[in-house]
Amino acid sequence: MLYKTTYEITEIIELYHVQEVFIYDCIEKEWVTPVDTQKRSFDMEDITRILLIRDLKEEFGVNDEAVPIILHLIDQLHWSQAQIKHYIEILEK
């Protein structure tokens, strides 16, 4: 599927049925930082992070205190995977 580079809040609300107040809550709690903070536009990484947070809170019943901890663990996992992939590429050269 082709995605745009950035989306406005109104587009996110329409495409992914996310509430505006929820998006602003994620920004205020610094769980999500829009790729363009001045224009308040979001890339797919931001949008999928918002959807993940919604899943954690609304589907899994995770409370606000636990959300940043889980996000941190997920980011750590991805960071580690990216580093290992990079080292393997270097070592294979």
Binding site: M1, E59, L71, H72, H78, H86, Y87
Partner: protein, 299 residues
Amino acid sequence: MIKDPYKTLGVSKDATDEEIKKAYRALAKKYHPDLNPNKKEAELKFKDVSLAYKLIENKEAREKYAKGMYEEPFADTTARGGPFYSEFQDGGGRYTYNFEGNPEDLFKSFFSGFKGGGTGGMDVPGQDHLYKMEIDLKDAVTGIEQEIVLSNGKRLKVKIPAGISSNEKLRFKNQGEPGIGKGKTGDAYVEILIRPSDVFKISGNNLEIELPLTLDEAVNGAKIKVPTIEGSVNVTIPPGVNAGTRLRIKGKGMPLGKGQGRGDQIVIVHIVLPEKIDNKFRDFIKSWSGTHSYNPREI
């Protein structure tokens, strides 16, 4: 074909809302793609589980399901399909770049058995970071300076040269991930993406624009204001110009680089009939065509 939601969730047909929700949550946590990155099977199971929950989450839904009162493709519109966060983390993303892990610690944890210490005397270069920046076509033509914030919080001035192409990457040395041992720090790359313009189309070194004309302007010629990337200019439309004619405004296209000037702006003529055609006009054209026949489809 929709799978049996009771079997999918592992609940009995007389399970309560609470029991169904509990079963769903347990499975959703187990199979959520963001908690199981790069596992296609988990993603498929997650989709089955979220669809199953939607089908029987409450009494009303269960009654509808029992009566077969749901329409295909129920699955496509109801199950929590993608996109998922892990899809945008291949090679790392902005949030993972921000993660303050120490690459050397990670490296040491895998190679701690090597002689010569934690990294085994290995010098490994740090990972490069990729950022994306969207700019308007005008800025791509004229060049612009913008600021981005790197993952380490540092502000970087990005000077975008005039004439840059979409998807071109600008390199900033040593602004990426630190290396291991004596390995050099990775670089930061900023990929420039040009937003499509509603008015102009890039065609090689030229910019193209479509210009609608009235019948009178096309037949008798006119002086028309035509937009260019830097503002409007007057263009003389010669009399008898035909649809599809390409007029050229020199030096108003994309920069050619290295001080070689610019391409041109190509104005492509369209002839537009009036919105409402009255009988007088219709009769005139019929009469005129009777003595001036021509066939544009003949080669």
